[in-house]
Symmetry: C2
Subunit: 371 residues, 2 copies
């Protein structure tokens, strides 16, 4: 028998910031690894999970979100990497490392057979390039795919000399967008919530930065737009920044709509800011397109895995991570996504023993670490 | 010498409905057709002009609109058809019929040489198919191009069995969208501002209609959406109808953003309604794309002129027109675009003598006529 430490979803919370201890609670359950019934499913020992802003929307009850709401009393789930302990699904066996959409924030998860259909086997040989396992949850994982694939699919060819505005630029996805655009010769203006983060995004290649909490967003965007307007906007936040982009968009501007973080934790629906200049979508012939990365994975995963991990390993793309150790730390780490205390891609390392096999030392050097 | 009757732009009016006699006034000027200096330009005798909601935005002063504001004291200009009286531009000669973006609402216009670069010669042989000249300003002109080309470019292949919502469906563009979609096997729900217009759009092939002034828009769209959601939205109006579409959109929904009429005549900026559910652009992976038809004309004009006038002549597409006789009638006709009193495509026949050569009789039978 082992004790399975867990972060449980405790209370539907439609508004405001998530509250550790209330929205979620810490729990544990005894588990007999050898004999617990799997009912045709898979038991994983969980190594690491990714925490993403989108998870906030699953804590609001049934709001018609594209992923189902969390169930009270059950572990919060996230994208993660685990090792198969036992499997009753063909094609998976003990010792396999798997990348899954629904790893519980707990040390062990029993996945139903249907969930295993979405598993992707993870080849530990990929780690021989020196990348750490959490990088495969971030820049070489979903965050990286989100940046890479949405630019490929919605913008197409990034044109050198064109201008891009990236909001949430120090976050998991934003930092990659900044670098991919910079490498393509696109001029980048990037917004973030602190001076330190602004310095960071400039170190990644942003030509200019905006601390949206202290600087005049509209004036800086207008100056950056100059006579040409701004050709692209990678929108992680919506609200005022979306409106400011539309006001400064070039004709045929393209908005890659990735998230609307500014609205996720509003206390009241009327607190959420929506742009009041949508008529310019018509007059500037703007394309404003939303996406969920899973729609693009089948088409782009091969090219992505061929290019991006190599670029990361060679240092051609940088990747800042914010790693918390241990299951229970996930509660505070999730809150930090919204307070802005996080630094880069937020992940939780659940199983340091397994992680040690895969470049944990390097991880410790390059990430901001919370214990 | 002739007397050139004119509708002059009289007063910048940022808000509210246009006011005949105040926003615009009636005027006249004596003109020596043989000797007036053209300074390298072209003199046209104007046959007919198209009145379009977009013109309202040029009466607001410099709001950064894509076409320049009207100048106080000068004639209001519109898309129209005229006959060349004298030309100092190579390639144009007296007697040529031309289609132009900037015909004055007046009997004669002197066009600078630069404006003539945008003229398209109109072959009167096109009228041998029985279409009237104003149809070449509507269904076979810019309104038709707007419907046809935006569907081609933004939606691509209309998929039989998919669902489309069209707002402003009894208007110049909407009535063609309804028919093109119906012919492609798309199920159509169409909104308009009176029961009579709703009957009209159903006669064109709309499966369902919504009188947005008296019926429950959200409930009707939700019922129409059913389990599949609504795949396409052709948006002429913005505001509440745009929000209601987003709420009922299918995954990968497409919004063809043609206009935002609901906001054009607001008394105060805060009276304009903007959708409060843009996060669904992300979660439903919606593409919301604006366009101005002139961007698409070079690519699609050949195919359009090959297909659409023929379909109109053969009765495969119907086209309801609202024709006013005489320059001065343009003031009230323009107002009717926004009060909803118009019936279909609004045009002003300036020169009945010329129009008589081109199917005026047929015109009189098929159009609602204002004198």
């Amino acid at each position: 028998m082992v004790t399975n430490h867990q972060v449980l979803f405790n209370k539907v919370q439609p508004t405001g910031l998530p509250k550790p201890g209330e929205t979620t609670t810490r729990g544990s359950a005894e588990l007999d690894l050898d004999n617990v019934p799997l009912n045709g499913g898979i038991l994983t020992r969980n190594i690491a999970v990714s925490l993403d802003p989108t998870m906030r929307n699953r804590m609001k009850g049934d709001i018609g979100y594209f992923t189902p709401p969390y169930e009270v009393g059950k572990p919060v789930t996230a994208i993660g990497i685990g090792e198969v302990v036992r499997s009753e699904v063909d094609g998976f066996a003990a010792g396999d490392i798997v990348y899954a959409w629904s790893i519980g924030i707990e040390e062990y998860t029993i996945h139903p057979a249907a969930a295993a259909a979405g598993f992707r086997k993870f080849d530990p040989a990929q780690l021989s390039n020196g990348l750490s396992i959490t990088t495969y949850l971030g820049a070489a994982g979903m965050a990286g795919m989100t940046a890479y694939m949405s630019l490929k699919e919605i913008v197409g060819d990034l044109k050198a000399g064109n201008k891009m505005f990236v909001s949430g630029a120090a976050g998991a996805v934003g930092q990659l967008v900044v670098q991919l655009c910079h490498q393509a010769g696109v001029k980048v203006i990037a917004s973030a919530g602190s001076d330190e983060k602004c310095e960071f995004v400039k170190s990644l290649g942003a030509d200019e930065s905006i601390n949206y909490k202290t600087e005049d967003l509209k004036a800086k965007l207008k100056a950056f737009a100059g006579d040409t307007g701004i050709h692209y906007y990678f929108d992680n936040v919506g609200g005022d920044q979306l409106e400011a982009y539309i006001a400064n968009a070039a004709r045929y501007g393209i908005i890659v709509a990735c998230g609307y973080i500014s609205g996720y934790n509003a206390e009241k629906p009327e607190d959420v800011v929506y742009p009041k200049n949508l008529f310019n979508i018509v007059t500037k012939e703007i394309k404003y397109q939303g996406f969920i990365v899973s729609s693009f994975i089948p088409k782009w995963i091969g090219q992505f895995m061929h290019e991006v991990p190599k670029m990361l390993a060679e240092g051609k793309i940088k990747n800042r991570e914010d790693v918390t150790f241990g299951v229970y730390g996930a509660e505070d780490a999730f809150l930090r996504l919204f307070t802005g205390e996080n630094n880069g891609k937020v992940a939780v390392l659940i199983d340091t023993e397994r992680a040690e096999k895969w470049n944990l030392g390097k991880q410790m050097q390059s990430a901001k670490v919370w214990k």
